[in-house]
Symmetry: C2
Subunit: 433 residues, 2 copies
Amino acid sequence: MGINISNFLSSKSKNRKMMEFQDLDHLDGLSISTICANLYKINRDDLVMFYFRDGANFASVYTKSKIISENIKWNLNQNAKKIFSLLVNTRNANAFTGDQGYQSMQNISEIISQELTKKQKEDEDKSKNIKPKNIMFGCTGTIGEKFPLDKIKLKIPDLIKNIKYTQNKYIWMKAALAIMTTDTQPKMAMEECMIGKTIIKIYGIAKGSGMIYPNMATTLGYIFTDADLSNEILSKLLKKNVENTFNAISCDGDTSTNDMISIFSTCKAKHGKINNITEKKLKYFDEALNKILLNLAKRVVADGEGASKFITVKILKSKTEQEAKKIAFSIANSPLVKTAIAGEDPNWGRIIMAIGKSEATINLKKLSIKFGYIDIVQNGKLSSQYNEKEAADYMKNSNIEINVNVASGNKNFTAYTMDLTKKYIEINADYRS
Amino acid sequence: MGINISNFLSSKSKNRKMMEFQDLDHLDGLSISTICANLYKINRDDLVMFYFRDGANFASVYTKSKIISENIKWNLNQNAKKIFSLLVNTRNANAFTGDQGYQSMQNISEIISQELTKKQKEDEDKSKNIKPKNIMFGCTGTIGEKFPLDKIKLKIPDLIKNIKYTQNKYIWMKAALAIMTTDTQPKMAMEECMIGKTIIKIYGIAKGSGMIYPNMATTLGYIFTDADLSNEILSKLLKKNVENTFNAISCDGDTSTNDMISIFSTCKAKHGKINNITEKKLKYFDEALNKILLNLAKRVVADGEGASKFITVKILKSKTEQEAKKIAFSIANSPLVKTAIAGEDPNWGRIIMAIGKSEATINLKKLSIKFGYIDIVQNGKLSSQYNEKEAADYMKNSNIEINVNVASGNKNFTAYTMDLTKKYIEINADYRS
C-alpha cells in the first residue's frame, strides 16, 4: 500500500471519490513538516510535525473511552497556555503501552522543545522558551505494541530541518497522507469567513475509517486557524460544533482509545478582541467551523472501511434530541440495516427493527419513513404509494438518505454512516498482517 | 435452499457442525404436525402445529423491542389459563402488518379452535371446549409484508389431519427444520431429570441466526415438558433461566420484533404438587431447564449467520453483574473484535478498545486478559510470557475463549457470540431475493 501523492493530486485520479479535494494554502504562524520514520515496513511518511512559531492557542476534545492512550494522558496532564508543536505519528497508537509509552512522550517532547528553541535562536536570534509541556501528541495505529521511541527520536532533527515558513497545498496533502492508516483517501477541508472586517482562514485535516463512533467519533481531526481567539473560546466553540459533526458519525460503532479533535489558532489575524462566544462578530466563524468539521466528518464516513455507500439518517420531530440521537444511531449502527443497503435492498423492515430496539419511546401510529423522497411508511402504515421497484431503484444511489419522522416533538438529529460490505471484513480480519 | 431431512438425520452428514444432535422422543400430551403452506417459493415445510390434547400450562418471555409483531400482541392480549395449540410459521414475521396481521391471528385461532374441538369430539367423543384465546402464535421472517392468511388457512385442516398421538425423533426434526429461516442447522435439545422420584422430560427446539441480541436473544425457542407445574412457577423458572442463556448470546447486536421463548408443560408427570420455585424437589428441574436453554442458545450462536468460530466471552470478578454484562457485550458486539477473530488475528488491542468503550469502571492496573489458557495481559501489562506465535496458533481453534478478569468484585458474566465474516454480509445483503 505505497502512497503516491500524485495519485491524489491529479484531478483525474480514480482515487477521487465522493468529494473533491480542496486546496489548502499558507496559514500565517503555522509550518508543517512530514517524514518517513520507517514505522511501516513500506516507504511512506508516517510522522508529521505542525509547528507554531509564535505558539498557538488551542482546545481539544478526546475519546470518552475508559481506556485512553498514553499520548492523550500526556496531553491532558500538561497545563500549557500555548502549543508550539503537534506531533502526529501513525502505525502505533501508543495505547496500553504503559510507562514506556508515557515516558516516550516525555522524552520526545524534551527533544522537540530543545530543538525548536535552538532553531528559533538560529532563525530569529531569540527564542520563545519552549517547554516540553508546549508539545502535543496525536497517535494512531495498533494498540498494545511497544511505542517506537527510537525510530521517532532519530527523525526529529530532520523533521525540524525540513520546516519551511511558507506552506502550500502540497505540504497539506503530504500531512493528510502521512496521518492515514487504513484510510484510502486523505481528508482535508478549508473555509474562509469574516470576523468583523478581517478574512479568517480555517484549515483542517482528519484521518479515520474504522473504530468510528461517538463519543468521540474520528480517530484524529486537526483544525488550524489564524483567528485570534482565547483557549476558552476555542474550547466552547469546539465542544459545541463537534456535537452535530464528529459526534454524529458512525462507521462500525467501535470507539478508539485515541480519538482526538483539536483546534489551534495562531492568532495572526487582526480583528480585535473577542470576549465571548455569543458575540455577533463570531457568528460566521462559528458557522464556518461547523462546516469544516462536518465536511471532514463526512469525508471520514465516506472513506469508512469498505464503504460503498454514504448513508444519512435524519430523525425528525422527536421529543428530545437525546431520543432522536438514540434512534439515529440505532439505525446507523445496525449491521442488518447496513448490509441491506450494501445489497441495495429496500428492506425497510430492518429500519423498523432498528427503531424498535433503540429504546426510544415511539408512537407507531405517527411514525413515517422515507428513503430520500420516496414515502415508505406513513402514519404507521406502509404507504399506499409504495412501489418496491421504485424503492429498489433508489437504493442503487451511492448516497442513501433515510428520513424518520416520529412526529412527537420538535427536535431533530442527523447521523452519518456507511454501508457494511465484505470489504470491511477483509480490511479488519487482515489489518495487522 | 431445499431442505432434505436426511441430510440432517445421517450421523455422517457434513451438515453436522459443532454440536451433535440429540434424539427427541415422545412427550405425553403433546403432538406435532408440520406442513408446506407454500410460503416460500420452494417446496419446504413452513408451518408447524404443536397440539396439547389436554391443554398445557405455559409461560413466555418476549422481545423488549418497542415495536413488536402482531402475533406477540395477540399472545399478550389473551388471558388463557391453558394453551391447546402453538402455531409457528416462517417466511413472514407478521410485524408491521397492522390490522391485517392481527385479524389474521384472530381468524386463524378461530379456525384452529373449532377444528381441534371437532377433532376431539371425533377422537374421544368429548371436547375441552377450546377457545381462540387458547391458541398461541410464533412468526418469523420478513418484516412488513402482508401476512399470508389465505395460504395458512388453506392448510390448517391437513395440518390437523396429520396429527399423530405418538411422536418420534423424525417429527421433532421436521418441526425444527420447519421453523428455520436463514438457519443452516435445526436446533434441538433434550434433558431428563427427576422431580422427587419421577423422571421428567424436557425437550426443546429453537431457530435464529441473525438479529440475535438480548433482550430477548433468539428469534424463537420452545421448551416442552411433562412436569406438572403451574403457570406462575413456569414463568419464574423461565425468566430466571433465560438471563444467563438466551439473554447471554449475541450474533450481531440486532434485536427482532418477534423474539419469543416459551415453555409448555403438559402436566402428565405424577410427582405431586410443587408450590414454590424454592422447593428442593425442583432443584434438578431448574438445573436441567438452564442446561437445555443454554444448549439451544449456544446452537443459535454456533449457527449465527456466517459464523466460522464460536466465541465465549467470560468476565470475571466484576463489581456488579450489570458491569460484567456491559463489558461482555461490548466485546461480543464489537465488529472489530469479531473480524479480528474471523481473521485468526490475536489482536488483543481490540479487546482493550472494547473494554474501554463499555462504560464500565475499570481499574487498568488490575485488568487481566487471557485467550483460553494463554496469558495476554496481567495486572494491566502485557504478560512477560506473551508469545504472539502461541496466541496466533490459539486463534486457529474453532472455539475461542476470551477471559477478562477485572479483579474488582465477585460477579461474573459469560456471553456467547460468533465471529463476523464475509458470509454474514453475503447472507444479509441478499436475504430477500
